[in-house]
Structure formats: structure tokens, C-alpha cells
């Protein structure tokens, strides 16, 4: 009953997040709901303690003892905060960052204009609850800004599209360092992982890039028809349906079918800007999009955040930035070169997961075909800098 009231109040407050009365009623409903849960929990705990037996008293103790505090990086070779920060940066972003070159920018005449409704569409696709990066401004605020003063975001983004440049200001990210639970020791960077939070304003430009580039990629054959994921209308279920259909078709012809599943190591971090831009140019992609892509992939900096971090931005090499709306598409385009035809078989992928399907009169024959195909795939991957 209380949950229904809470959900209903939450739904009615969603269309306008800044209506104070709706928010107040949603907050009251939420408070009542969670207070009721808290009360029920307390009553259950009291009754559990009252009926504790010598056997269950240890369970009670386990519940009562406080949760272990979060662990912070404490690496043996790093005695000062900057050393610790550098050790973590080297582990999370192992590549050498490219140096910055100041170049003169010329406007791309063939660049498409940026209408306000394209910005509205990009903002509509962004989640209001997505965690913001160093700017600390959530998407919901940019949505409101665009509703109130549509000229602002347009006037800020249009020159960037015209000049095909993704400025350094937008490429600063926060890296939240979290401990991996259950590790035997926390004196190695591998006991931690990083979640990168990008600036929400930058993501608006990246969504526009994504929508323009995905249209071009389909039209120019930058993508293989058997690539799924990161593209509208090509989900995991499409990949599964294609694979099962192919397997069943081959089985109906009384052939033995085998599939080898592979995963690309590192994923987005392997994207080489020069190689990718070369691929885009070769397929005749509009030069302003190529320039935006090159600019997007280089000159990134990250500020690691953990208790005691020096909180300084350091240049990093990340390939296609984790968490960006355009990164999955760039990665899918990048790995499209790995595709090759398998006679009486199929090469299928979902983002960084590849499946090689082979068929023959015997499973032994399939193994030989798959071994040959894997060797070819590995060689192509080596040329792109990716491994399985």
C-alpha cells in the first residue's frame, strides 16, 4: 500500500523535477515508505534478539558488528600521495598519452548545421540520474537549460561541430577508485578498479556525434551486417536469433556445427585514433566527423578520486573513453576489420564478444576449420592492436 503510494507520487513528480509541491509529496511518500520498512526491521531485530539461543547469538553478533570500512589504496612502493596517484594511473591507464599539439582550425564547409531539435533529441536520450563528472552538473539541469534558453547549448556546441574539435575542457574526467570486494590483500593496484565519470556537457556533443556517425556507418558499409550491439535495432537478442537460426539451418542439412566464442581483451582501450580515422576516411565519411572523432580520442585527462588523493588531472591514454555514448560505436567500427567469411559458417559479434561458427561432416573437421579461422582472426587483431 505504502509502496504503491510512493511509486505513484514518484511518477507524478517525474515530468517536472523542479516542481516543489510535487517533490514535497513524493518525498513525504518516500519517507513514510522507508520509515515503515525501518520500523518493521527494528521490530524483527528486537524479536530476533529476544528469542536468541546459544546457537543464534553468533548470528546476532555478526549482524551487530559494524561493516568493515572501505579500503584505500596502500601500495608498498608508493610512500607519498603523488607516487600513489601515479602508480594507480599507470595501472588503470597503461598507454603513453600522446603529446598536445596546438593547430590552426579551419571551418568544415560541408559540415551539417546543428538544429536545436537535434540537441533536444540528444538530451532526451540521456539519463537524468547519470552520475556527472568533474562539472558536477547532472543531465536534468542541461535539459532544463535547453528548455529555458535553447540558444545557450547550441551556441556553445555549434562552433565545435563546425571546426571538428572536441576541446580539452570537455575531455577531463573523474576516475572513482573502488576496492574489489573479497581480495586477500589490498597492497596492489589490481585489487582496485576505476569507474570513469565524464562531463555531462561533453556527452551532449558525443550523442550528436553518435547519431550522425551511426547513420553514416550504416550507409557507407563501415559495419559488417553480422555486428550487433551499440547500434539501434541490433541488440543481444538479434545476435542470439541470428546464431540459432544459422545453427539450425546447417543442422537441417545434416552437418555438425561448432561455435568458438571469444572476447577481446581490454576492449575500448585498444582503439587507435590514426587507424580508426583512416578507416573512416577510406569509406568517405564527412571530414568534420573524422576530425571530431580524432579530437575525441586524443588529449584526455583523468583525476583519480579516493580518500587522500591529490585530485590533480593527469593526461591519460584511454582509446575510446569508457562511459561515452559514442565509444561503443567507434569500437564496433574499429573491430569491423576482424570479419572474414567462413564457408558454410558464420562470424558474429556483440560489441567485443566474437563467435566463430563452422560446420562440416564431423566435429573433428569443425575443430580444424575453427583453428584456421582463429589464427586468421588473431593475425588481423594483431594488426589492429587487439588480442583475445
Amino acid at each position: 500500500m505504502l509502496r504503491k503510494a510512493y511509486n505513484s507520487a514518484l511518477r507524478s513528480s517525474k515530468p517536472d523535477r523542479f516542481d516543489a509541491s510535487l517533490l514535497a509529496s513524493a518525498r513525504a511518500a518516500r519517507s513514510a515508505y522507508f520509515k515503515a520498512i525501518k520500523k518493521a526491521k527494528r521490530a524483527h531485530w528486537s524479536s530476533f534478539l529476544a528469542s536468541a539461543t546459544p546457537q543464534t547469538v553468533w548470528t546476532a553478533k555478526r549482524f551487530a558488528v559494524r561493516r568493515p570500512p572501505p579500503r584505500f589504496p596502500d601500495l608498498p612502493g608508493a610512500s607519498t600521495p603523488p607516487e600513489l596517484n601515479n602508480a594507480l594511473l599507470d595501472h588503470f591507464f597503461p598507454g603513453e598519452p600522446a603529446g598536445f599539439t596546438d593547430t590552426i582550425l579551419l571551418p568544415f564547409r560541408e559540415c551539417l548545421p546543428l538544429p536545436p531539435d537535434e540537441i533536444s533529441r540528444a538530451l532526451a536520450r540521456s539519463s537524468p540520474s547519470s552520475a556527472p563528472g568533474p562539472d558536477a552538473i547532472p543531465n536534468s539541469v542541461w535539459k532544463r537549460v535547453h528548455r529555458v534558453a535553447p540558444h545557450l547549448i547550441h551556441d556553445l556546441l555549434a562552433p565545435l561541430v563546425t571546426y571538428g574539435s572536441h576541446p580539452l575542457t570537455l575531455k577531463r574526467a573523474d576516475g572513482i577508485v573502488l576496492d574489489k570486494p573479497g581480495k586477500p590483500s589490498y597492497d596492489s593496484p589490481s585489487s582496485f578498479r576505476v569507474i570513469v565519470l565524464l562531463q555531462t556537457f561533453s556527452k551532449i556533443l558525443e550523442r550528436i556525434m553518435n547519431s550522425r556517425l551511426s547513420g553514416v556507418a550504416r550507409a557507407t558499409g563501415l559495419l559488417n551486417p553480422h555486428q550487433c550491439g551499440s547500434l539501434a535495432g541490433l541488440s543481444a537478442s538479434d545476435a542470439v536469433t541470428t546464431l540459432t537460426h544459422e545453427v539450425k539451418t546447417l543442422q537441417m542439412a545434416w552437418r555438425k556445427v561448432s561455435t568458438l566464442f571469444l572476447d577481446i581483451k581490454g576492449g575500448f582501450a585498444n582503439v587507435n585514433p590514426s587507424t580508426l580515422c583512416g578507416m573512416l576516411r577510406a569509406k568517405g565519411v564527412n571530414p568534420y566527423l573524422v576530425s571530431l572523432t580524432r579530437s575525441f580520442l586524443s588529449g584526455r585527462s583523468c583525476r583519480l578520486l579516493y580518500q587522500g588523493s591529490p585530485k590533480v588531472f593527469a593526461p591519460v591514454s584511454v582509446g575510446a573513453a569508457q562511459g561515452s555514448p559514442v565509444s561503443p560505436l567507434l569500437f564496433v567500427i574499429y573491430v569491423s576489420r576482424l570479419y572474414s567469411e567462413i564457408p558454410q559458417g558464420l562470424t558474429l559479434s556483440y560489441v567485443d564478444d566474437f563467435g566463430l561458427t563452422a560446420s562440416s561432416a564431423s566435429y573433428r573437421g569443425n575443430i580444424q576449420i575453427l583453428q584456421r579461422q582463429y589464427a586468421r582472426l588473431k593475425a588481423r587483431g594483431a594488426r589492429l592492436g587487439v588480442s583475445f
Binding site: 546476532a60 552538473i137 576541446p167 580539452l168
Partner: protein, 219 residues
């Protein structure tokens, strides 16, 4: 036994150059409901960070909340805990974790080994645990960990729900973005963007209150 330690470089990088450890074994006193080491000896009023620990042979609900207490146990232990409270000492034990198990299997296990930190020391306290192997005594070895505290508080973040949207809307409508430089370079376009973006975000800062920093705030 009291041990005064000199720390010339400062205690955990603080300005204090020493600290005191008071380790005591308190047995039954001459009178009923007393112990051989009185509370004012164990809990001195000292300008130095002080760690008081030992087998005080007292039982108190603060340290062992699940125990059923006899009246004389409460009467004996209360002066110690009252004195500790008056001077701001904090109990470091994890409540309810037994530190003594009777070998004879007749007596109940108890929380007899207590550790207290004075207000100057308690910010450095990190962990009370019993991970060490048994010494074959009926008392378990205890590990106390002290570490330099993490002084940096998380930065406050804007509370968008409390933004003055009416005033902010007017300010945003009035904000004008200047055109980019005529022949920009990568860095001049970057400077243009950051300056103009600042024009917008400074309006947010002007009309938005900051959230209170909580335990859950990002570092």
C-alpha cells in the same frame, strides 16, 4: 604500567610529540566491589594522547551488551566507565566480542580486556580485531590498529532541488555566448569554450545551494 613514548616528528604527523600507554592488570581489591587499580590511575587527565588497556576484571553492559549482569558486577564496573566518560575516553572494543574463555568451562566467557582511547588519540583509531593465533592462554590476543586520519573532507555538491530556478531562468535567458575567435587554434577554441561555459555554470553556482557532506559523499 605506564609507558610514555616520545615521538620527535610528531604523533602521526600532528604537533604532539609524545603519547602514553597505560597497561594494567586489575585484580580484586580489599573491599567488595573494588579493584586493585582505581579508576583515576587508569584514566588520568593528561595533555598527551593516552591509550588505556588491560585486563580490568570488570563487566559492563557497554562492552558486553548481551551478558546478564549481577548487581555487584555493575557496581564494580560503573566507576570505571563513569570516569572514562567524564574524561572523554572512548571504548575501542567491538561490543560483545569475548576476550576471555574460561579453561575450566565453568565460567562464562567475558569481555575483560578493555581498551580506551582519550579524545586526543581516538581520531587515530582504525581497528580492533582478534586475528592473531591463540597463545594457549584463556585470553585471546588482540590487535589494535591506529592510523593517520584522512583529513580531507569530500567537497560539497550542488543541491539542484533547492536551486532558485525562477531567478536562474531569467539569468540564463539573458546570458549571451560570444562568437568563437575568427581563426581559432585548438587551444584558443578551448579557452573560448571554457570561458563561455563558465558564464553558464557560474549562474548555477550563484543560484544553487550546496548539499551537506555526508558519509556517502564521494571523496
Amino acid at each position: 604500567m605506564a609507558l610514555d613514548l616520545f615521538t620527535p616528528n610528531g604523533f602521526f604527523n600532528s604537533s604532539t610529540t609524545g603519547f602514553t600507554i597505560i597497561n594494567s592488570y586489575s585484580t580484586k581489591g580489599r573491599a567488595n566491589n573494588t579493584r586493585s587499580v582505581p579508576p583515576d590511575i587508569i584514566f588520568p587527565s593528561s595533555p598527551l594522547p593516552t591509550l588505556t588497556l588491560g585486563d580490568l576484571n570488570i563487566h559492563h553492559p557497554t562492552a558486553d551488551p548481551l551478558r546478564t549482569f549481577k548487581e555487584d558486577e555493575i557496581a564494580t564496573s560503573t566507576p570505571y566507565f563513569d570516569r572514562a566518560t567524564d574524561l572523554g575516553f572512548s571504548l575501542l572494543n567491538t561490543r560483545g566480542v569475548f576476550t576471555q574463555f574460561s579453561m575450566s568451562l565453568v565460567g562464562r566467557p567475558g569481555v575483560l580486556d578493555l581498551a580506551f582511547a582519550c579524545p586526543l588519540l581516538s581520531p587515530y583509531f582504525s581497528e580492533w580485531s582478534d586475528p592473531l593465533p591463540s597463545t594457549r592462554s584463556d585470553y585471546i590476543p588482540i590487535l589494535l590498529r591506529f592510523e593517520a586520519p584522512l583529513f580531507r573532507a569530500p567537497p560539497p555538491t550542488p543541491n539542484w532541488v533547492l536551486s532558485g530556478w525562477a531567478a536562474l531562468d531569467i539569468a540564463l535567458k539573458a546570458t549571451v555566448i560570444s562568437p568563437p575567435p575568427p581563426l581559432p587554434t585548438t587551444s584558443s577554441l578551448d579557452l573560448w569554450l571554457s570561458t563561455n561555459l563558465e558564464k553558464v555554470t557560474s549562474q548555477f553556482a550563484l543560484h544553487t545551494l550546496m548539499k551537506r557532506v555526508t558519509f556517502h559523499s564521494k571523496p
